[in-house]
């Protein structure tokens, strides 16, 4: 017999595309005014490349730049380091969009990934996972961690490590 798990919504079970971004040479990507309608958020991105090979991109939630708010680690690099920083992906090894991804034409050399933010609208700290991959050395991520913030997530920003720009396709889904 199937038993409902805590938080499961039987009325609107499913996944809904709620926003699409196709930036070209953008200095920052922001998803703002995210409604608290859903249980979880999922971002899928692909065909992503940037203007310099040495740069990378992190993520900030609710435009919160307070030091120590993000705790996470990268399993992909087998690192034992637990990092705290002002955003997810402060260094190349912890980046959802990694270095060496500058090809506008070669799919394997572009970033593709998934970001999940669980129970984003609830009044608890927000757990997340980030998985990304590209055919480049040391530039893939398998992050899992927590954002220390109890307010509902209403904004997601991609933050560059320097002055580079990014191009690609980003799809934000609400999961019920």
């Amino acid at each position: 017999m199937y038993t409902l798990i805590s938080g499961e919504n039987t009325d609107k079970a499913g996944i809904t595309l709620i926003a699409t971004a196709t930036p070209s040479n953008a200095t920052t990507i922001s998803f703002t005014s995210i409604p608290g309608t859903y249980k979880h958020l999922q971002m899928i991105y692909f065909d992503v490349f940037q203007s310099v090979s040495s740069g990378w991109w992190g993520i900030r939630l609710n435009n919160d730049s307070t030091a120590g708010q993000y705790h996470y680690r990268n399993q992909a690099t087998l690192s034992s380091v637990t990092s705290t920083a002002t955003m997810i992906g402060t260094t190349n090894q912890y980046a959802p969009i990694g270095a060496n991804t500058t090809s506008s034409a070669t799919y394997s050399l572009q970033t593709k990934g998934v970001i999940d933010i669980y129970r984003y609208a609830e009044s608890t700290n927000k757990f997340f996972t980030v998985r990304s991959a590209q055919e480049a050395t040391d530039t893939y991520a398998d992050l899992r961690g927590v954002y220390i913030g109890t307010a509902a997530i209403t904004q997601i920003d991609f933050i560059p490590s320097s002055t580079q720009t990014v191009t690609g396709k980003f799809y934000l889904y609400g999961v019920s």
Binding site: A26, F31, T32, S33, S162
Partner: protein, 73 residues
């Protein structure tokens, strides 16, 4: 150019950064550079320790295969 999507309305805005946003970008970039430099320094220090261990093990007569089994490639 900043790229913003208002998820509620679907509106997409492309605009330049404000002065306040430019200031935050400078802070972010400095933090990223510092964090990455720190990570690289830690990795270089670890590599130096590993090289030292390999040299000492080689001096004891271990083969390359035996050293690799102990300290990794």
């Amino acid at each position: 150019m900043r790229y913003e999507v208002n998820v509620t309305t679907g509106e997409i805005i492309e605009r330049e950064s404000t002065a306040e946003e430019l200031a935050q970008e400078a802070v972010d970039q400095a933090a990223a550079a510092a964090a990455n430099a720190e990570r690289l320094a830690v990795e270089e220090a670890a590599a130096a320790v590993k090289d030292s261990a390999r040299a000492k093990l080689a001096a004891l007569g271990l083969t390359e295969e035996e050293i690799a089994a102990l300290v990794g490639i």
